[in-house]
């Protein structure tokens, strides 16, 4: 937007400072001007065809023609230069009355390692371009993510171990000839084995709705309760005297 006054004319060097990855193509898609980064990647590319040097990654354009690029003005176009697969994000705009199109774009990368392994340097990015700083911030997040992944792996391993031990305990319990029973703090039965079912004549489902008192001889109840006093958590007791 402007207040009606004409905007200053920018030289190619100035445009390159603002958009080091800019390209201007003519109506035959020949490159007539370009930003500084291509000099490092290809040498001079003046006069070369746009399609020789770049792929359009998105949106999908089957046949890249001048008319297609005109039709995609105002859309984010992601290019990939062919020699180093460097991605550039930007958009085409009509440039002047000669039909030329200018692509104003910036290099795009997802990791700081991608930058390090590329032939680009910090000067390949405009001063207003925050990408490098953002990649450094992302690197910090990536380290945190790796720590969390490692933690999750350990939790999974520990869970499997607990499940395996629980199964072993359960198998052991089921195969014991002795009756074993677990109560919660209110003396509700929360676990029992087959031997207890045989001993009491109740099914496991029935026993899990009962309390210790229900299956203990009244004279033994106080003794049983005393013996569980020292347990802060769930008590597991062998049965000594049951009402059967």
């Amino acid at each position: 937007m402007s207040n009606g006054q004409s905007l200053p004319h920018l030289s190619p060097d100035q445009i390159s400072q603002l958009f080091p990855a800019y390209i201007i193509v003519d109506t035959n898609l020949k490159i007539v001007s370009h930003g500084a980064i291509y000099q490092n990647l290809f040498g001079s590319i003046i006069g070369k065809n746009f399609g020789e040097l770049f792929n359009v990654l998105r949106p999908k354009i089957e046949d890249v023609t001048y008319d297609e690029l005109i039709a995609h003005q105002g859309m984010l176009l992601i290019l990939q230069e062919k020699s180093h697969q460097i991605r550039i994000r930007g958009q085409f705009l009509s440039s002047g009355n000669n039909g030329n199109l200018i692509y104003c774009g910036s290099v795009w990368m997802n990791t700081i390692e991608e930058f390090e392994s590329s032939p680009l340097s910090i000067s390949s990015f405009a001063l207003h371009d925050p990408l490098i700083e953002m990649l450094q911030i992302l690197k910090g997040q990536e380290i945190i993510t790796e720590d969390i992944k490692s933690l999750l792996r350990r939790i999974s391993e520990q869970k499997e171990l607990i499940e395996a031990r629980g199964k072993k305990y359960r198998d052991l319990l089921e195969n014991l000839y002795d009756s074993v029973i677990s109560f919660d703090e209110e003396s509700n039965i929360i676990e029992c084995n087959k031997a207890l079912c045989t001993l009491t004549g109740y099914s496991e489902t029935e026993l899990l709705t009962m309390t210790g008192k229900d299956i203990t001889h009244p004279e033994d109840w106080e003794i049983a309760r005393e013996s569980t006093k020292n347990f802060n958590e769930t008590a597991i007791l062998p049965i000594f005297n049951c009402v059967v």
Binding site: P59, L76, I78
Partner: protein, 181 residues
């Protein structure tokens, strides 16, 4: 797909049908992973398997599951994880849909392993427009329908959604006609 998609299925099932049902689906799907990391890429096969097993466990068609997931994605997952971007996408449904192609091009830059679909808008009229959906993935058109329904609810703008063409009938993409009611 990224873990966030599988996590969305997990949340949809858990909230709608309970944790036990999700555990049953997770076990039947023979998932080796216990947790989905949102920004981690997972094999697409996991997502398809989850959708198929969920449909069997819940006695719903896969299309119904995908449509529910589409709505859930917009109303819950996107709001929770991409709330700011969603708000920036448009002030109303029409503006949001017109911005959708560029929105997805931006998403492709943020999530390089995602291979997100492409959208195009055509036949832009006062009351209707055509939304074109291009994707390398098969069988997700009902997910897209769910997304549109979710957006319609999110913006509180009731719309009718008509599938005009589909890859199942020989086209190279799906086209939805969306009309404001």
């Amino acid at each position: 797909m990224y873990g966030i998609v599988n996590k969305a299925i997990q949340d949809l099932i858990t909230e709608g049908y309970g944790y036990e049902k999700w555990e049953a689906i997770r076990k039947r799907s023979e998932l080796e992973v216990e947790f989905f990391l949102l920004n981690e890429a997972y094999d697409d096969a996991i997502t398809y398997k989850l959708a198929i097993v969920s449909s069997e466990e819940l006695n719903l068609s896969t299309d119904e599951i995908l449509k529910s997931l589409g709505e859930w994605w917009v109303l819950r997952t996107s709001t929770q994880h991409f709330g700011s971007m969603m708000k920036a996408g448009g002030k109303n449904l029409r503006e949001f849909l017109i911005n959708l192609p560029n929105f997805h091009n931006r998403i492709s830059l943020m999530y390089p392993k995602l291979a997100p679909p492409e959208f195009k808008i055509s036949h832009l009229e006062a009351e209707c427009l055509h939304l074109h959906y291009f994707s390398g993935r098969q069988g997700l058109k009902e997910f897209v329908r769910g997304l549109i329904q979710g957006l319609s609810k999110s913006f509180n703008e009731p719309v009718s959604i008509t599938l005009l063409q589909t890859r199942e009938e020989g086209s190279d993409h799906e086209t939805f006609k969306i009309c404001w009611q």
